[in-house]
Assembly symmetry: C2
């Protein structure tokens, strides 16, 4: 990131882009960043031709290591109940219910429910798959286990990378997680988001277009001024379709050592790197 | 604020409150705070009998000095157009349109529009009141002036006070401002919110109950676990009616030196102080 601090009084006198009454259309045009170490930023995304103002992040897998976090919680749960299970396999099994559960909401088969509800239901399914009798558990203990999704550990580079990008850009999650899940995760892991708008604000799950467009509208930005950063190319493809800029971040360990993960981008994304700080350096 | 750092692994084993499947009801019960300097907090609000988890702040007048900010922007605008006006009187006149404009939305006379739209319309009204011909101004310059509401200066104690409370509680605005306005203000003024949910998320203006209850639901908290801090007793009264805890913060200079402002609380609020750090000390 380039440049010196941007003076607010100065930028107040900057010309507004060629558009009629942006406030009345709900899309302010002059957006200024401040704070003692604000950088003047001018990264223009090739795909949108617009200066990026906000970098929003996919969270599960891109910012946090869900597999390790869930395996640790599942391991502790298993120990306290004398269960023998492979905690990593259990994490994979629980996670495998994630897309099918959201698909039922996206298809309209069921109305919107928060990811907390889906995670809790999916936990029952994952336990049943092990042949366990759910009646043998106190439901409150299962609720507590499901809350492990609120407290997943960031990848080692995440906090430093987000902090660097935050100096010049708006940073926030763009996740299927609900607001309280993302908030707990941020407080516990020190993720320095400027704001948190969960999927329960847009009431839509990625890759539904509304999941990208509602946060963009609330930021008062045009889609081309918003960049999605994600480890999953399907997510990036959907974001690009709605007009967002894109950054690919490789997370080869998301599904564990040796498991398949997208380590090199196959799509033509605006940026690509192996960590969040690498993306910060490219902006 | 009391106590030492709260261990996440420890708190995972804490009992859940007496309620059935809180995740399935959408209200998680175990909420833990983390981070390197998280404090163990246990402030129980007398009015709700519940431990406060989040302190949400009214913004205009309570966290930022709207009158000085708007007067400065209006003064610069007047100078550049050779207008003679009293910038503080102009700020008061512009602000005087605030409640009537929101009332038309609250009453259903018009559908929800963001505060950016209302501020822009109210600017036209304030200029007309001075007998000025709006046709004499480039609409884009008026748009830029209206954006001054995005960049109001914090009161001198606000950043330190919010930072102190943030160590033990969730902090966020609970304002009639829209999300992008509150975001710009936070970036420019260094307000360390954990999250920002503007009035365009709830699509309701205070004192409508929905304006308090929608953010509370998105936080996954019961109303009694959320405290509103505000300089305006009408706001606090409405928050209390919806079940929130309350803190009064005196801001005697909100309307300028010598003008009427509530300097001593007349209501029986849970907490009362003369600054945000004073509230932090009481929590």
């Amino acid at each position: 990131m380039r440049g010196a601090g941007m003076d607010i009084a100065l930028s107040l006198q900057q010309p507004i882009a060629d558009r009629d009454s942006p406030i009345l259309t709900g899309v302010p045009v002059v957006r200024r960043l401040g704070g003692c170490d604000a950088g003047e930023v001018a990264y223009v995304a090739p795909s949108t031709g617009r200066t990026v103002r906000a970098v929003l992040f996919d969270v599960f897998g891109t910012v946090v290591d869900w597999r390790t976090g869930i395996a640790e919680a599942a391991g502790a749960f298993a120990s306290s109940h004398g269960l023998e299970l492979d905690p990593y396999a259990f994490a994979d099994s629980w996670r495998a219910q994630y897309q099918p559960a959201m698909r039922r909401v996206r298809s309209g088969e069921r109305s919107f429910v928060s990811l907390d509800v889906l995670h809790r239901e999916n936990l029952d399914d994952a336990l049943r798959e092990l042949g366990l009798d759910l009646g043998g558990f106190d439901p409150k203990e299962l609720d507590a286990l499901a809350l492990a999704w609120h407290f997943l550990p960031p990848w080692p580079d995440s906090v430093a990378g987000l902090s660097a990008i935050k100096r010049g850009y708006i940073v926030g999650p763009l996740s299927n997680g609900n607001t309280s899940l993302l908030l707990d995760m941020a407080k516990a892991g020190g993720l320095p988001w400027d704001l948190i708008l969960g999927s329960d604000v847009s009431r839509a799950y990625k890759p539904d277009p509304e999941a990208y467009l509602r946060p963009t509208a609330l930021l008062g930005l045009n889609p081309g001024e918003v960049m999605l950063a994600a480890a999953h190319e399907g997510d990036l493809a959907a974001a690009r379709k709605t007009g967002l800029a894109t950054a690919f971040i490789a997370r080869p360990l998301e599904y564990g050592p040796g498991a398949a993960a997208t380590v090199a981008a196959t799509g033509d994304w605006d940026l690509a790197g192996g960590s969040i700080p690498e993306i910060a350096d490219l902006l």
